[in-house]
């Protein structure tokens, strides 16, 4: 299959005696929004950590564009185009908004020591292009006027948006969002909804989403995976998941 972006099979993560993730399988195609849902402590974030190289999975295969990535360190995986956000916003708080975006473009800028020392033409050009890209994204997420503000001083919703923009600066093909709507008000959640769909349709990337806001998840997901206590429970379209008796049982308990 040509359009298969990410293929995960048999993913298992064991912390000593605790089986946090057990035999999880996932599949993400090009330009898809895939959600992973499950009750608190189900192991969703652990799956993310395994996929992005923050944990070394105990067993299983992670194939990204036909290439196994499960034993690679985090920054290498990220360079291949799998980039994530965090459940708790992790911005570079004391740096300005635009600096946050420039750090993320590290690999696309001129990092040569001598070029920077003597401010060569190519260095200036690369910096200007970097700032231009950053400015475009700041316009899109409505933070253009805060460009030189410290990132830590932004409002929470703005920080969330900045974090997504920062990921986009690395030019990923798979964006992994860990509870992006947590702590947002309904209006901000709607904006987020729009942004995610726009990322898929206009920037041609796939999105893997962990989220508790069911309205958001059911509204935008192409497919949904349900995880419960580390085990895969079900997967399918939003409709199928909503009517799946196992899922209802996991969320609401047995009657």
């Amino acid at each position: 299959m040509d359009n298969k972006l990410l293929e995960v099979s048999g993913l298992t993560m064991r912390f000593g005696g605790l089986l946090a993730v057990n035999n999880v399988a996932l599949e993400v195609n090009d330009q898809e929004i895939i959600s992973v849902i499950g009750p608190n402590g189900a192991g969703k974030t652990t799956v993310f950590n395994c996929l992005t190289g923050f944990y070394q999975p105990t067993a299983g295969q992670v194939i990204y564009r036909g290439e196994p990535v499960q034993q690679l360190p985090g920054h290498v995986i990220s360079r291949k185009g799998m980039v994530r956000t965090f459940q708790h916003v992790r911005l570079f708080k004391e740096m300005t908004v635009v600096e946050n975006l420039l750090v993320a473009q590290h690999r696309h800028l001129n990092t040569s020591f001598l070029a920077g020392l003597f401010k060569t033409k190519s260095f200036k050009k690369a910096e200007a292009e970097g700032i231009e890209r950053a400015a475009n994204w700041l316009d899109r997420i409505g933070l253009a006027e805060f460009a030189n503000r410290q990132a830590g001083n932004l409002a929470y919703g703005q920080q969330r948006r900045l974090e997504i923009a920062r990921c986009m600066m690395t030019q990923p093909s798979l964006l992994m969002l860990d509870e992006p709507a947590a702590g947002l008000n309904p209006a901000e959640t709607d904006e987020l909804d729009e942004l995610i769909v726009e990322l898929r349709d206009q920037h041609k990337i796939s999105i893997l989403l962990i989220e508790h806001d069911m309205k958001l998840v059911m509204g935008i997901s192409d497919r949904i995976y349900v995880v419960n206590q580390g085990c895969p429970l079900a997967n399918g379209t939003p409709k199928e998941i909503q009517s799946n008796p196992d899922v209802i049982k996991a969320y609401l308990g047995e009657f």
Binding site: T52, H75, V83, R90, T96, E99, N110, E132
Partner: protein, 422 residues
């Protein structure tokens, strides 16, 4: 000023008058027939009146005065005085740079020899402070063994000069590179460490270097150190009274001047100025380069760095290496200025002082660090007459600084980026 403040002021001055006239205006006089209370001399009376008037007016204008002070203070609690970013006021910065450079160049010709020598020492600390600022202030890696790299630089020049007769300007880059290599080597084992753990390991590293120098007696002379290290030369011209060898030319002979030992002091000072200007320039550029931003990003959040494809290993190692290189330059310069080095000069207290310079100046702030280096070297010299209270004053100053201005003298300003309009 209202009526009530006038009455308040009046009461305060009357109270002041009653109290001080008892204490200062009267005197016990030892007369043959016993003690007598007499009026004090006119000078005391004048001072009592001055005091009373002063109290009256301070009380009267208490409200406007306190408003002024509270204005300063409330600003101080926000962020305090901050320098504007260079991008905001380019002309101001250009003017200040030129003024500072001119001052630095004129200084040796107007100041006394001792003052010039002290200024050279200050410049060495400026270099050290700026170098450590990269590691601690920017990359956020707490390094308590920075003096180790300083020692490596000093001994590199000392040994190369004594055994192989290498001149200062040739040894300078070698010393820098060797110190950088040591920084790189230290970087490896401490890659996984942060904060307190890193501090302990680097502390150990600094001590290892010092003890090694102390014990490798055959090479380093042990506790006796290395003496008679050559001073820097100006394109081969020596500053000594007599030429060290037959082919060497002397500075005063070459220019047909009478010999003066001042030339040497001034030249060493100017060489230090040159090195410091280079250091400031290089680090200033590094700050605005991708690698400089990466250092700061690493300080802020290592996990986020990794998630964005930045390799923390390379960032940390580069910070250690570049920081150490500047210590190496400063070290070889120190050896050249002093002409004598021994492990005594590279004890832990030096590391502590350099770290204090960085913290006092404001982490990451170049101007702050330079200012702090000047204060930290000149104050102890000025306070020499207080003898044993010197260190106590020094300590007190640090304590008060950390209470009143924990962000440092001149905290770092973020570079402002020009965004396109619209």
């Amino acid at each position: 000023m209202s009526k009530s403040s006038f009455i308040d002021a009046l009461i305060a001055s009357v109270v002041m008058l009653i109290l001080t006239s008892w204490l200062l205006g009267l005197q016990l006089d030892n007369q043959p027939d016993g003690l007598r209370i007499i009026l004090n001399d006119a000078a005391h009376t004048t001072w009592v009146i001055v005091g009373v008037v002063l109290v009256f007016f301070t009380q009267l204008f208490k409200a406007p005065i306190s408003r002024v002070f509270s204005g300063i203070k409330s600003k101080g609690q926000d962020s305090g005085f901050k320098l504007p970013a260079p991008e905001e006021k380019p002309t101001l910065y250009r003017f200040l740079t030129i003024a500072a450079l001119a001052g630095l160049l004129i200084w040796p010709f107007v100041a006394s020899r001792g003052a010039v020598d002290l200024a050279t020492l200050t410049l060495i600390y400026v270099m050290l402070g700026l170098g450590l600022n990269v590691v601690v202030g920017l990359a956020g890696l707490l390094d308590l063994g920075y003096v180790g790299f300083y020692a490596v630089g000093a001994y590199t020049y000392g040994i190369l000069n004594t055994y192989f007769g290498v001149g200062f300007w040739t040894a300078l880059p070698i010393a820098g590179c060797l110190a950088a290599l040591f920084g790189f080597l230290l970087g490896f084992p401490v890659l996984r460490l942060r904060g307190d753990y890193l501090a302990i390991v680097t502390l150990g590293f600094g001590e290892i270097i010092r003890i090694m120098l102390n014990n490798m007696t055959e090479v380093t002379g042990g506790p006796n150190g290395i003496s008679q290290i050559d001073k820097p030369t100006l394109f081969g011209l020596e500053f000594n009274r007599r030429a060290s060898s037959d082919e060497a030319t002397l500075f005063h002979d070459f220019f047909g001047l009478d010999y003066s030992s001042n030339y040497k002091v001034i030249f060493v000072y100017l060489a230090a100025v040159l090195l410091v200007v280079l250091t400031v320039f290089v680090i200033n550029r590094l700050l605005r380069m991708p690698i400089g931003r990466a250092w700061e990003a690493l300080r802020e959040d290592e996990i986020a760095c990794r998630s964005l494809g930045l390799n923390p290993t390379i960032i940390k190692l580069s910070a250690f290496t570049i920081g150490a290189a500047f210590a190496g330059f400063a070290g070889s310069f120190f050896a050249a200025r002093q002409g004598f080095i021994s492990p005594e000069s590279f004890t832990f207290i030096e590391s502590a002082i350099i770290l204090a310079i960085v913290v006092l100046g404001g982490m990451g702030s170049q101007v702050g660090v330079i200012l702090a280096a000047i204060i930290m070297t000149i104050l102890p010299e000025m306070a020499r007459e207080f003898n044993e209270y010197r260190m106590l004053m020094f300590g007190l100053m640090m304590v008060f600084m950390m209470i009143w201005r924990p962000q440092g003298l001149l905290p770092m300003t973020r570079p402002k980026m020009e965004m396109r309009n619209g």
